[in-house]
């Protein structure tokens, strides 16, 4: 630091408005203080009308979507296990939620097969949509599940009456999972405050889409920015009002400090979330070789396909991927095998064909031929089989 420089505090940046300017700033400050406080209190106050989807008999499943194998449904709840490669999920019938319903959604779930004392960490997604479209939006959380039912809490991103359907998905579990109910309970102000704190320190998983955006924690139906900006407005409003009413000079450093404090809270929230994610990843990948890490990250089907292709083909040969997911498996295999093997889009021209859960893919074992949908048949031999839905073919020359 040179002699001509000094810290902001040392410089003592102060402002002392006069006359009409002072009056205007005072008015704005009082409005900011009151507005900020009101915005902070709104999510905590007010009563709400409860709603619940109790899963205790088959009638409850009319018009619902069950993306899983249904093992049983009784007083204890619905017991589901993963079906094929689809993530286990349960979606409500179209809803008409009461206008007075709250925004805190609870899902009662458990893992009946884990031992009584142990827990398992799992990713849970709240699926939601506001209109009847195929796609769902989602909120994600990491929770500890055990044999005893526990309540998983989410804030609804939209007011309840706007919600068309909601659902719950367990991407990291194959089952069985027991879901007892999904509901919007009426919570007291104290419970809401407790929930807000839990949601603040909750963790947003940094998934593949995390590179595009981070939603941050959803606290009682509002994003973190809502609370931070309201708090800053309230604090600055109170400080400015106090200084102006007491005819004291306004210190710019204090105002900057308020804003920076809010920034530090946001940063602490994110850093803590990332730290926990990193700790989980260290536990998952630590002490393993590069190949093992890739196998965990990409899944055993893709790793199997890559190994089989490496073993069965020679350098420079081509392959194509047939899958319901047109992007993920194809691009991941292309990356894992480049540049020694070359991925092609047209399966009919490729030397090898990898089928990974392609519903329209048909292999005729008798005539040893393959096609997708209504395409022409091509001659192909099975090289290796991982499961009935995942296999590797070598195309025969026509």
């Amino acid at each position: 630091m040179s002699s001509e420089q000094t810290t902001p505090e040392a410089a003592g940046a102060e402002v002392s408005p006069r006359g009409a300017q002072r009056g205007a700033i005072l008015l704005i400050s009082v409005a900011a203080a009151l507005g900020g406080c009101a915005l902070l209190l709104v999510p905590l106050l007010g009563s709400s009308e409860p709603w619940q989807w109790r899963l205790d008999n088959r009638a409850a499943l009319v018009d619902a979507t069950v993306n899983a194998d249904l093992l049983s449904i009784d007083e204890a709840g619905i017991r589901l296990t993963q079906k094929g490669s689809r993530h286990l999920s349960l979606i409500t019938p179209p809803l008409e939620l009461p206008s007075g319903a709250g925004r805190i959604l609870t899902i009662e779930a458990s893992l009946p097969d884990v031992t009584a004392t142990s827990t398992r960490r799992a990713q849970v997604k709240l699926l939601w949509q506001t209109e009847d479209v195929p796609e769902f939006k989602f909120e994600s959380a990491i929770v500890e599940l055990s044999a005893e039912p526990r309540s998983i809490e989410f804030s609804l991103p939209r007011p309840a009456p706007e919600i068309h359907r909601i659902g719950v998905q367990f991407p990291s579990l194959s089952g069985p999972v027991l879901i007892r109910s999904i509901g919007l309970p009426a919570l007291s102000a104290g419970s809401r405050f407790g929930l807000a704190l839990r949601e603040l320190v909750g963790r947003e998983p940094i998934g593949n889409h995390g590179i595009n955006f981070l939603t941050g924690p959803l606290i009682l139906g509002h994003g973190l920015n809502y609370y931070l900006v309201s708090s800053v407005a309230a604090c600055l409003g109170v400080y400015l009002s106090a200084m102006l009413l007491r005819r004291r000079r306004i210190r710019v450093g204090v105002m900057a400090g308020v804003v920076l404090s809010a920034w530090l809270v946001a940063d602490a929230q994110f850093t803590w979330s990332m730290l926990r994610q990193s700790s989980d990843e260290a536990a998952t990948f630590g002490g393993r070789g590069a190949a093992e890490r890739v196998a965990i990250a990409y899944g055993e089907q893709l790793t199997w396909a890559a190994e089989q292709l490496k073993a069965s083909s020679s350098e420079g040969q081509t392959f194509a991927v047939v899958s319901d997911d047109p992007f993920g498996p194809a691009h991941r295999l292309a990356y894992l095998l480049a540049p020694q093997r070359i991925r092609m889009d047209a399966y009919a021209d490729a030397a090898f064909i990898v089928v990974i859960h392609g519903r329209s893919a048909v292999y005729d074992e008798v005539d040893r031929r393959f096609r997708v949908g209504a395409d022409d048949w091509i001659g192909a031999d099975v090289v290796s089989l991982f499961s009935p839905d995942v296999y590797l073919l070598r195309r025969r020359a026509p």
Partner: protein, 462 residues
Amino acid sequence: MTAGWIFASLVVPWAAGAGLVYHASDRYRSWLLTAGAGWLAGQMMVSLLLGAALFLTGSSQARYLLVGLAVLGGVLWWRIVVNTLRRREQARRLSDGDGTDKPRSPSLHPACGVLLAVIAASLTLKLGTLMVSHALSPIRSDDAISIWLFKAKVVAGLDTLIVDEADPYYLGGSNPRYPLAVPLMAAWTPLVTGHWDEQQATWPWLGFYVSLILLVAGGLRRWLTPSTGWVVAYIVASLPLMVVHAYRPGYADLPMAALLAATVLYLLTWRTTHLFRHLALAALFAVGAACTKREAPLIVGAAVFVILMASWRNLVALETRLRVALLGLMVVSVILVSAVVNVADVSDSVRSFTYNAEVWSSLGRHLLAWSSFGFLFYGLAVAGLLVLCHPMAVGHRWPALLLLLSLFALDACAFLFTPQARFALNDQTPSRLFLQSIPAVILALAIPFGAMLENGSHPPRR
């Protein structure tokens, strides 16, 4: 042995770049800035030299290039050491002669000290986490494996760049319209070590993250106190999406953001110093930034244009030979960028002009409601207004405000008026596009805003 090659492949270009930056600086030198801008310059040299070697000789010649960079770095640093020793000797003689003491730095306010300690702890924690993640986690993000690192893996695996359009690995494969500058930076260390390794390939992203922090903290010292510089650097480094781009490396947005910030910093430095070498450094970084992504030439061009427009007094004051040199610099830069970047996709998007009103809600979600940038955009709006109105907000007020408005307007228009709207509606790109410009905007706005906070007590250094 491999560890030695990895170390050399990272440090040698950094040292060469830092030497270059140091030689181009004026008497006011910041080691932080030298280190930060040095990494960026080093990565640009790597990309340029690798690209040239691949095109001209058919293979990377990576280890020869490493030796060449080591020689260049050695010569530059030898001169720096000799000059530094000479200056110190002169300074010692002078201080012996007049008996004056060195000026003492003012003491830090306790609150400021606590704040800096918290910032240091937060940055250390982040860097530690990033290092652990870098060492252990495989790359999974979509564009990283399907485009950027895919190209790097192909170039490193083949040790050549295929220029036959019919070949599936033409220009590294994947989408040939994506520029090669960033994949070449990723391919550099694997080419030096002789084998592909994801961890080796993604070192540059950690380097870009660290260099961005150093660039902002060091670069702002010309106008602001070191503590203010560190606070601004911390704000940039703690943007959640910025951290995620270092945590999940492989996308080109972070390299572009760092290079664009360096461009803006040296343009603003030139406005203060009137030294042509700062303009030359700005041009160097502008070319680097423009070569990172398909949309980059448009964004970098807009940034350079508005700052030059706000610097018309500097331009008028240039001597004729320097004006000619500036024109030459611009022509060469445009030719270089045109040769490297295929802007066909951007042109197609711009030609398909349609207004997409539904994009507004998506932009609001990304910039104001979600946490990708914390509550930065609320802060930028207030800071922009204060800089516009406050008499103490001196120093680069207009370039900062024009940059803020033009870059964000450009980003917003990319979604509002082109088919890119679909990527706003499916939430894929809005935050990432804004991320590219944010460090540059924060850096520029920090100068007048910081001066306002510091009560305009420090005249800009020349």
